[in-house]
Amino acid sequence: MKKVRLATTWLDGCSGCHMSLLDIDEGILKVAELADIVYGPLVDIKEYPENVDVALVEGAVSSVEDLEKVRTIRERTRIVVSLGDCAVTSNVPSMRNQCGVPAILERAYLENVTAEGQIPREVVPQLLPVARPVHDIIKVDVFIPGCPPSAQLILNCVADLCSGRMPEPSLRYKFG
C-alpha cells in the first residue's frame, strides 16, 4: 500500500500539541508504517512539499508568515487538520486581540526590558491585527480541539486519516 504523505507544522502555538503527538510513544511505529512524515518541525525539510495527503496544523494564525504558510498548506494538501485549541479557537494567542498590536509590542519590547529596548521590524514576521483560528483563513477538514489534545486522541485521528478514513465521530473531543 502506498504510504500517506503526512506533514505537521506549528504556527502561533507553544508546541504542546507536537509534544502530545510525541507522547504517542510506540504508537509512532504504527504511524511510520502508514505514513511518511514529509514536513514538520521534526524533520529537516525547509520548504512545504507538493502533494501532501494529511497536514496537522498547530497554532493560531498570528503573523504574515503564518498567513502565507496556511495558504501554501491548503494549496498543496488534501486533508488539513486543525490540531489543538490554538488552531481551532485561537486560544491563548487571541488574548492579545483585545489590546491591539502596538500596545502589546510596546509592553513586550519597551516597557518590560532593562537593556535598550526596540521593537523588531526586520526578519521577525509582522503581526496581524488579530490572531485567528486556522479555519477563519482556509478551509479546514478535521478539527481536533484540546490544549493539548491527548496523545491517544491524536493517535486515533492520525491512524484513521492515514488509513483513508475520516476520524470517528464518537471520539470524545474537549476544549481546554
Binding site: 486543525s82 486560544n91 491563548v92 483585545q98 489590546c99 488579530v130 476544549f175
Partner: protein, 237 residues
C-alpha cells in the same frame, strides 16, 4: 386525576404534573435535554436556549424549561434540526466572549466546556468577537471575569430568590448585556452583597470564582444551590 396530564415525548406516553415544565417532565422520563441556565429550584428563564424542543403544531422550537406541559402535547427532544440548532447556540456562546479554557480556573469542571463536548461541537463556525471586557477583582473573597460570562443569570436568580440580597442584575441589551453588581458599581463596594458565595457556586463557568484559585482549581457545587432552593420551596420542584 385532574392534576395529572398525559403527553407524548419522543413517541412515549409520559404522565406529568399539571404546571410542570416540559424539561422536568422529559428529564423525569429519562430524556437527555441539554441546558446551561437551568438550576433546579430557581425560576426558569429560557436564557441559554439549549433546551429547545419541537412541539407538534408549533412551527418554531420552544425552550423546554419555560414551556408548561399540557394534556395531549406531542414533543420531540431529538431531531436533526434540534441537534444542529443546539450546536449553533453552543458556537454562539463560545464566540461571543473570550472563553480561553486553557487559562481558566474552571478548566476541566466547566459546564460550558462539558456541554460543548456533549453536543459534539469541535469548533465555532461563527467568527469570534474578541470583545474587550473587564475583570472585577474588588471583592475580598470572589472574582468576576466578564470574559467567561454567558449571561445565564443563574447568579442573578440565586441571589434574589435564595439569598434575597438582589445584588446581581443584567444591564444593557443584546450583545452589550453585562452582569452588574447593584447599580453597576464595583462588586467589592456592594452594600447588598452578603458574601454568601451562592452566585459563585451557581455559576456554570469560571466567570464567578473564588479569589486566588489557579487554572483548573475551581469546582462548583450547583447541587447545594438546588438543595437550598428546593428546601425553601423553590418555584419549581
Amino acid at each position: 386525576m385532574p392534576n395529572q396530564v398525559k403527553l407524548k415525548i419522543d413517541g412515549e406516553y409520559v404522565e406529568a404534573k399539571a404546571g410542570e415544565s416540559v424539561l422536568d417532565a422529559a428529564r423525569a422520563a429519562g430524556k437527555f435535554i441539554p441546558s446551561l441556565c437551568h438550576v433546579k429550584g430557581l425560576t426558569p428563564v429560557g436564557a441559554c436556549r439549549l433546551c429547545m424542543v419541537e412541539v407538534a403544531g408549533i412551527p418554531r422550537p420552544m425552550p423546554a424549561c419555560t414551556t408548561t406541559v399540557q394534556d395531549g402535547m406531542v414533543i420531540s427532544t431529538v431531531s436533526e434540526k434540534l441537534t444542529r440548532y443546539r450546536q449553533m447556540i453552543m458556537q454562539l456562546l463560545l464566540s461571543e466572549r473570550n472563553h480561553v479554557c486553557a487559562v481558566c480556573v474552571s478548566n476541566g469542571s466547566c459546564e460550558l466546556q462539558d456541554m460543548a463536548s456533549k453536543l459534539g461541537v469541535t469548533h465555532s463556525e461563527f467568527p469570534y468577537r474578541y470583545p474587550r471586557l473587564p475583570v472585577d477583582a474588588s471583592h475580598p473573597r470572589f472574582v468576576l471575569d466578564h470574559n467567561r460570562c454567558i449571561l445565564c443569570t443563574r447568579c442573578v436568580r440565586v441571589c434574589a430568590e435564595v439569598e434575597g440580597a438582589n445584588t446581581w442584575n443584567i444591564m444593557s441589551r443584546g450583545v452589550t448585556s453585562m452582569l452588574a453588581a447593584d447599580l453597576n458599581g464595583n462588586w467589592g463596594d456592594s452594600e447588598t452583597c452578603t458574601m454568601c458565595g451562592k452566585c459563585v457556586e451557581a455559576c456554570p463557568t469560571g466567570a464567578l470564582a473564588v479569589k486566588g484559585k489557579a487554572v483548573e482549581e475551581m469546582t462548583k457545587n450547583t447541587d447545594a444551590v438546588s438543595r437550598l432552593a428546593t428546601a425553601r420551596g423553590g418555584t419549581q420542584q
